[in-house]
Each structure stands twice: as C-alpha cells, then as structure tokens.
C-alpha cells in the first residue's frame, strides 16, 4: 500500500479544502456535551481526530435511523415510486473497528437481493479512517483483531506526533489526497513510527477476550444451554439501547405513513432491535423469543456465530458502545464470551 505523510499543521488545510469543495458533506467526530458524536464539520477546528469513541457509530450515514423506501399516490390511478436517498459524504475520522463494521454492512446489503437504497448511498461515501490510539475503556478491539484495518477505507491516518502517516486504500482516496492536500512520501522511519504507535495503542485496551476470535463460533456451538444467558439477562430492561448504538446491527422495521389528505404517503424503514420484546411476535400471538434469556442469547449468537457463518465476519467489532449504553451492565459480548469460556473449561 502507498503511504504518504501530512504535517499536522497542514491537516486543517485538507479538512477545510474538503468542507469548502462542492458536492460532498464532511462528517466527523466533534465534541458534544463532554463526549464525542459524528456530525457535520463546517470548519477543521470542529474535528477531533484523537477521540476515544462516539456514542453512536457512523452507521447512521449508511443506514439512517429512518429512511424512505417508496412513496405512493392514492389518487384514482395508484402510483408507487422507489426513493433512493443518497448524497455524497466524506466520513472523516472513522476508527478501524467502525471501518470493519461498515464492511459487514456492505456484505449484508450486497448479498442476495442487493439493497439499492444502501448501495447507492454507500457508493457516494468516502471513508477516511484514523487509527484509534486512545481506546475507550469498554472496547476490546485488540483481542478481537479489529484494532487495525487493512481494507475498507479510502484513506487511513495514523497520528505519529507532529504528523500523520496516510495510508492510501483506494484510487478514490489517492485522488482526493492529490486534489486537496499537500503530502510527501512516507519514510521507512515514519512507517516504523506508525507501527510503534499502533502497538502502543494495542496495550491500552482494558477489556480483552480470553480466546482467539475464531474460537467464538465454536464456543457458542456448545453453549446453547448455558445458564450464563439466564443469569446475565435477568437484569435486562428490554430497552434495545445495546442494539441502537451498535455499528454492526442492521435489523429494521418497515412502516407506512399517509398524509392528512389521504392521497399520498410513504413507506419507510427504521432501526429495530432484537432485544425489544415484540421483535419476533407474529399475528397469531406466538412470540419466538419470548423471554429475556432467549433474546440475549440470540444477540450473542448473532454477534459470535450466525453472521460469521453467513458472511465470514463476526457481528461484533469490539467497540464497547453497547457496554457503555447498557444501564444493566450486561451488554458486552466480551464479558459473555469470557464467562462462557470460563464455564466450558
């Protein structure tokens, strides 16, 4: 891969060149009420590239919380039309685990029955990653192998003090850099420094998985009847927060809305959560995951086994957001997998 270097003092030139360019909106981590959140960047000074984590992942720019799928007219002649809501966006400052989460979303929405709503939007998104050198206390990316991204970005920045090493991941990224930034080739010493910074960051994770990630699906193969699910889920509030903040969760509900004149309306999808009580309820009254235990277990299996089997990627990237969001303190997959591992010994 090609690597460039950009001086920190030149970074704001790059950001401002992007924000003032026609066409694409720049979205990045900004400080908000003592935390960080992705939002529109109007000026380079708003962008915080050394953030630890954001409450919500950048997922909402790929799969909006609410998205119109079709509109319809209910006049004499019915008319239905597809709606594709896409616009050019530069996601600036995405951590490697969130890049991996986007790769999982890509796999899901491009598999059999490609989802044009997602894919059109995705095509217009540029991903500029930034290595996470200051991980969140609930994150466990190091042990999950998601702390470093090799693919999935157009550009990836690593802070090495007074400069960033820029890894070029695509021709789109290369072009963007050529057009908007002043860079030079990275030296061997600078690349070595990048690796040192990454290694240092790996040692900063507070939570770790007590098994290699590829062992998780096998562990789950024999954990179905474990009482861990029952015990941990007892305190669950069925609030769905763990799912809402997750960068890899993509399940949705579909609803219709009609205008007051009853002549037109739209069908939209919105985020939904398998941890909510009625997710699997059907009209006859049967609910296929009626108790907390089976819902928590489903979420853990989805993260650790089902998506792995379907797309060859785990459904968890270790960002720790669910653990931070859960008032009952039971949502972290790392904790559950570790307990299951402990029990299986």
């Amino acid at each position: 891969m090609e690597n460039k270097v950009i001086e920190k003092q030149n970074m704001s030139l790059l950001v401002n060149s992007l924000t003032s360019a026609e066409g694409a909106e720049v979205i990045g981590p900004r400080r908000k009420d003592g935390k960080y959140a992705f939002g529109k960047i109007a000026d380079a000074s708003e962008l915080c590239l050394d953030y630890d984590t954001t409450v919500l992942p950048p997922k909402m720019y790929l799969l909006p919380p609410k998205e119109t799928l079709i509109t319809f007219k209910l006049e004499k002649e019915y008319k239905v039309e597809p709606v594709i809501e896409d616009k050019s966006v530069i996601l600036f400052g995405v951590h490697p685990h969130d890049i991996k989460a986007i790769e999982l979303l890509d796999a899901t929405f491009s598999a059999t029955n490609p989802d044009v709503n997602y894919l059109s939007r995705r095509e217009k998104i540029t991903v500029i990653g930034v290595d996470c050198l200051n991980p969140n206390p609930n994150a466990f990316c190091a042990s999950l192998g998601t702390a470093i991204a090799e693919t999935g970005f157009d550009l990836l920045l690593t802070d090495i003090g007074d400069r960033y090493v820029v890894t070029i991941g695509s021709s789109k990224g290369k072009e963007l850099l050529r057009e908007h930034a002043e860079t030079r080739e990275a030296s061997q010493a600078e690349l070595a420094q990048r690796d040192v910074e990454r290694q240092k960051a790996l040692a900063n994770y507070k939570v770790s998985l007590k098994m290699p990630p590829e062992e998780i699906p096998k562990l789950l193969d024999k954990s179905w009847d474990s009482h861990v699910f029952e015990e941990r889920s007892e305190k669950c509030l069925n609030c769905g927060s763990c799912v809402m903040v997750c960068p890899t969760c993509f399940c949705f509900d579909v609803q219709d809305d009609v205008a007051l004149n009853l002549k037109q309306g739209e069908r939209y999808r919105q985020w939904d959560a398998c941890m909510l009580t009625d997710f699997a309820l059907v009209a006859g009254g049967a609910n296929f995951r009626e108790d907390k235990k089976s819902r928590l277990r489903h979420r853990m299996y989805r993260k650790g086994k089902y998506l792995w089997e379907r797309y060859g990627k785990l459904g968890c990237v270790g960002c720790g957001r669910c653990a931070s969001a859960c008032l009952a303190e039971i949502a972290s997959p790392a904790e559950t997998f570790n307990l299951l591992k402990e029990e299986s010994k």
Binding site: V116, F252, V254, F288
Partner: protein
C-alpha cells in the same frame, strides 16, 4: 446495461395488482384473486409467498394459495388478523394493491415427483398447501398416492369446504377430515389431527409428508409421521415468522442464523433438527 438496470431496481418497490375477485370462505377468512398490472405472470412455486401491500397501511407476508398451473391470475387466502389483513378484507373488486415477490423456497417439487404425497393441514395451513394440492391435482399422473389429512378446531372453521368436497369425490385422492370439537350437524371424525394417522397406511420408503399448521401442531404430527416410518428428510414443514422485508435484510424472520424468508419457509424436518427455537 440490462444487468445494471436490474441491479438498480429497488427491492422494496411493489408491483401493482388489481383485485379481480373476493370470496368469503369462513368467518374470518377470505379468498382474493389478483391480476398483476400488464397481465404479468407471478411465476411462483407452490409454497412460496408474496408481500402484499396495502399502501398507507403496510405489508404482510401471504402464501400464494393458487397453483402455478393457473397462470393469468393468482389467489391469496387471508385470515383477518390485524391491520393489513383487516384492510385487505375491506377491499372490493377493482381495488389496487402492491405485490412483491414471490419469495422464499417453495415445496421441493422435483423431489416430490413420482412419490406418494401425504398432506397434513392444520386449520389455515390449508392456505399455502392449496397451491400444492391444486398443482398435484393438475398433474396427477406425475405423483403416486395422494393422501390429504385436514383438521380444524370446529366444523364452522373449516376452509375450502367445497373444494375439499370435490377431492372427496375423486378416486385418486384419499381425503380424511377431522375437527377437534363437533356440533349438531357434524357427522365426521372428531379428535385431534393426529388421530387420523391410525386410519391411513403409507409406504414409508416412497412417501413425503408435507405438514403446515399452527406452531403447536408440528411436534405431534412429526411424531406420527416418524411412527409411520418416514425419515426426517421425508417430512416437510412450512414455518411462520414475523417478516418485514422478505428479502433477507430486516432480520425479523430469523431462526438462529437462518432467514426463513430466504432459506424457508419450507424446511425438511432434518433441517429443522439442526435449528433451535424452530418448532
């Protein structure tokens, strides 16, 4: 360029269809006949389902109830169970609905050809099964013996009474019916659907059982099929799950890692044994 055109089509966009006929078939059930706009063929297999849109109200998954041998239109039999089905029940001929699909895997016709067929229908399980029953009746010589066991709670809840009556008259169909509770007029069998199994003999090597009914029924009926000597691969079931997209995206229909809308709704019992939370 054509592939571009196809891959750019929204998977959520329904085709419009016209309701050409409605018929009441029981207290809460109606049969709807639709024609796609531009007289397109639906092109389904028995056991597949469509997503029916009542624009402004929502979508619901419904099995196609007519046989693909009937080409110019298709039928859906629907129980009034909630918002979309209720709105559907209020429609009159000439109304427009949206249709997406057909979706899912239907009954494996290729494996069924030449075999004896044992249909087990619980209540409105007959809705999806009717597409297969009519298909077999239309291609009767491609199949072996044809046995239908049908059960519902009370005589009043029986559906497709006339059509079953027609089957009863045919020499090449063995139909047995039962109700859980009879009434003054009912002279037929009384008892759970499982009680019909003692009244039929099957050649286990050559028979496929196809079972559709309420979730509670499956365990008991599968046990009866196995008592008859059928292997797990020879028992087919169709499962219901909540569905919001029909195309393997929304996640609602999952049984473990399986998407019922994609890999189902029809499964062999052998496949189901590998799943937890299935029946």
């Amino acid at each position: 360029m054509i592939t571009e055109e196809i891959t750019r089509t929204s998977i959520y966009l329904p085709q419009l269809a016209e309701l050409i006929k409605v018929k009441s078939i029981a207290e809460r059930e109606k049969l709807f006949e639709f024609k796609l706009q531009d007289a397109k063929e639906l092109g389904h297999k028995p056991g597949q389902f469509v997503e029916v849109s009542l624009l402004g109200i929502g979508e619901m998954p419904v099995s196609v109830s007519s046989s693909p041998t009937k080409k110019s239109s298709f039928e859906l039999a629907v129980r009034n169970a909630g918002s979309v089905s209720n709105a559907l029940h209020n429609l009159t001929e000439g109304a427009t609905v949206g249709i997406r699909g057909p979706f899912g895997k239907g009954f494996p016709l290729e494996s069924l050809k030449g075999k004896d067929i044992l249909i087990v229908a619980g209540g409105i399980g007959l809705f999806p099964l009717r597409s297969l029953i009519n298909y077999i009746l239309d291609k009767r010589d491609e199949f072996g013996r044809f046995i239908i066991l049908s059960g519902c709670r009370t005589p009043r809840e029986r559906v497709f009474v006339n059509e079953l009556g027609q089957c009863q008259k045919r020499q090449d169909v063995e139909l047995l019916e039962t109700v859980d509770r009879g009434d003054e007029e009912w002279t037929g069998n009384v008892g759970m659907i499982t009680t019909l199994f003692s009244k039929v003999t099957v050649a286990p090597q050559n028979t496929f059982a196809i079972v559709v009914g309420p979730p509670v029924m499956y365990k008991f009926v599968v046990a009866e099929c196995k008592k008859k000597g059928l292997r797990d691969e020879q028992i087919l079931l169709s499962l219901e799950r909540r569905m919001k997209c029909g195309v393997g995206k929304c996640g609602h229909c999952q049984i473990n890692g399986v998407y019922v809308c994609q890999e189902g709704p029809v499964f062999t019992y052998a496949e189901i044994l590998k799943l937890r939370e299935a029946i």
